[in-house]
């Protein structure tokens, strides 16, 4: 009798042990990713759709079981564009055990670069400031830097200008983000780029830019390069329209031709500036929702699936957000495929190996995102667009731009 009892108990225990182990194995792992961005405060018009994109794609990954039995958990918090809050969010995420971090502002990316290195955590920033890469070996840009974008625009500007040396003004955001490409542009001019940088204006919260535009006209400025977010650009364009100084064709004498870097233009600018956007030149590495393609269809489907409104679904900032989280998820998928344990280090290694045939195409960019130890700028291609009939249309084909050393 006692033997039977002992056998029964040992069988029961063994069964329970197997049950516990197998249920643990079936439950899968949870990988955590953190994002801190400006959903309120300055630049929140960019940060809101950006964060919604990250949230939606995270849900999509889990709903579609893209990681098999494993789950993705995304922490998304508002930092109001304040570095102190960003740092607090980052510390919270580290306490939670994140394996990948997505940052937003230029200021916080520069301030926290050493933290990324110390924590050895791969980080993709929404800021394309080249300086982010200097302060941290673990910082990555989703596309080419502001400097490359500004220099590419400047090259185009000079190459297509007719007449004397073009007189150029810069209209920039009053922050590290806005100032990022200014010094490099000045260096390029000192190095032989044939243009004069007449004035660099850091905008405030002006509701009208008439005085500034009049001053530029008096100084014979012909081109304005914008490095800021869309609302101040829209205000300036409306003032320019009121004055009748927007060039009808590129480089028209006595008028102003406006050009913008990634965050300064796009469909969001069309929505804000209306007809004043006509003739605005804009460069980015992303494809547009106004152009038919698989990227557009996928984005619309994603936004619709999670109940987003049309403005969000068509926002290029939503596109940006999707792309960065796609890259992060892709590193997890690749590391899993190789049988590696998902850690910060393995994801960092996967990012560095994302080049050549392994470069990642997110469908919403004009070229694949590729990273290596010597190149931490994702998509190396740029596309020039021009606003025509209320829509940004491509000008020429995508081009690779490498800034002079």
């Amino acid at each position: 009798m006692k033997n039977r009892q002992a056998t029964f108990i040992s069988f029961t225990l063994a069964f329970m042990l197997i049950l516990v182990c197998s249920s643990q194995a079936m439950a899968g792992e949870t990988y955590k990713i953190g994002f801190s961005g400006a959903m309120t405060g300055p630049t929140s018009d960019v940060g809101v759709p950006y964060s919604k994109a990250i949230e939606d794609y995270c849900r999509y990954v889990n709903d579609e079981k893209m990681l098999g039995d494993d789950k993705l958990e995304c922490f998304i918090r508002d930092d109001g564009y304040e570095t102190e809050k960003t740092k607090r969010n980052f510390e919270e995420y580290l306490d939670e055990g994140i394996v990948f971090y997505l940052n937003y502002s230029t200021g916080s990316s520069l301030a926290m670069g050493k933290d990324f290195d110390e924590e050895k955590i791969p980080t993709i920033t929404a800021s394309y400031h080249a300086g982010n890469l200097d302060v941290s070996n673990y910082a990555f840009l989703p596309i080419v830097s502001y400097t490359s974008q500004a220099l590419a625009l400047a090259d185009y500007l000079v190459a297509n200008h007719k007449g004397d040396t073009p007189q150029v003004a810069m209209f920039i955001h009053p922050s590290a983000f806005g100032r990022a490409p200014v010094e490099d542009l000045k260096k390029a001019i000192a190095g032989g780029l044939k243009m004069d940088l007449v004035e660099v204006v850091e905008h405030g919260k002006d509701l009208d830019n008439t005085a500034m535009l009049q001053r530029w006209m008096n100084k014979k400025v012909q081109y304005v390069i914008c490095q800021t977010v869309q609302p101040p650009v829209a205000t300036m364009l409306k003032s320019a329209q009121g004055l009748g100084v927007i060039a009808a064709k590129y480089g028209e004498p006595g008028k102003l031709t406006f050009l913008g870097l990634h965050y300064a233009g796009g469909p969001d600018l069309v929505a804000l500036a209306g007809s004043a956007v006509e003739g605005f030149y804009w460069t980015t590495s992303y494809t547009l929702m106004t152009e038919k393609g698989p990227g557009r269809d996928a984005q619309l489907a994603l936004a619709k699936r999670y109940g987003r409104d049309d403005a969000t679904a068509n926002s290029q900032n939503y596109t940006n957000g999707v792309q960065v989280i796609q890259i992060a998820v892709e590193t997890i998928i690749r590391a899993k495929a190789k049988g590696k344990k998902i850690t910060r280090q393995t994801l960092y290694e996967e990012l560095l190996a994302m080049n050549g045939y392994n470069a990642y195409n997110s469908l919403t960019t004009v070229g694949p995102a590729s990273y290596s130890k010597t190149d931490r700028q994702g998509v190396d291609m740029l596309q020039l667009y021009r606003a025509q009939g209320g829509v940004f249309r491509p000008v020429g084909v995508p081009f690779a731009y490498t800034p002079p050393k």
């Binding site: 508002d78 919270e92 580290l94 301030a111 933290d115 924590e119 922050s175 590290a176 409104d309």
Partner: protein, 364 residues
Amino acid sequence: MAQNRWLATGNFFTSYKEEQRIFLTHLDRLVFICFLVVLFVWPLFLEVGNKYMLVIDNILIAMVAILGLNLLTGFAGLISIGHAAFVGVGAYTVASFARILGDSHVLITHAWPLMILMAGGVGAVVGAIVGLPAMRLKHLYLVIATLSFQMIFQWTINFMSFFNQGQTISIGRVFWFTGKIVRKQHYFFWYYVILVIVIILGLAVRNLLRTRYGRCLVAVRDNDRAADAMGMHPGLTKVYAFALSGFFAGVAGALHAYLFRGAGFESFTLHQSISYLAMAIVGGLGTLVGSFLGPTAIIMLDLQVENLSEFFKHQFSAALDLATALRPLTFGLVIVLFLMFEPRGIANWWRIVRSYLKLWPFRY
């Protein structure tokens, strides 16, 4: 003097000296010592994440700053809306050394107590200079003078390349007797450093108020002509109040720079100055205990409002504007409510609780 030094339920002073004791009863002293022991010991037993250690460290730094602002506004009656700029002066003193010598220079990493003291000194000098108009100006005019200092500070930091145009100037990790303070120990280490500084400066203010220099501040606040007639120099007293306040703010700035491992423009804006003023008002102007309660209340409130904003954002996608407005709205509302219903601040609640406990179980 009270017969029982442990449980005095009323005032039994027979001399001014007795009235000026730091602790009126032995029980007060014992409770204070026990409270200090708790403050020093709790991190050893309770595990708190880095996020909350950072919040706690921030509260302690704000306490140092508010001690200074309370001396200026609460005790000397001089309203300043440029206090964040004074804090910034301290932070940028350390950052300037880092910029010139390198962020890991031995002076920054090893002689950090000296750097903190130096930041306080620079803050005091700048405070005294900014306080010079106080010899001539009063009330609203003085407020505008401090506002202009805030503007000058912001412009200087934002546009001078030496200050990296407001972008963060990084500061290296410090060393202690045990070696380099690595990331894991960072917030824990600075908790103790800032706590010690808060205690020292708190006792210093308490002592200052017992001296004639402290009484001078209060006399000038209450009636500067009467103070003048009594042989005090109201103008110099005001400048001295600004210098003292600048010293506290400078120390707070240096601590801020070390805690965040860098100095960046956005931590020292006009908005932050108004926050400091709110902390002083909510805590209780002209009270020492208010300097500790105000920062705690406002920073914790800020944190809760943030959580509420997050909730709104997730619940109502169209309510984003509400989420953006929630912080300034709550902030303004709290100040207005305190000014209307409790102008003496949370410190008054503390006073009521203490007197109730002192007399307990009797009501009178």
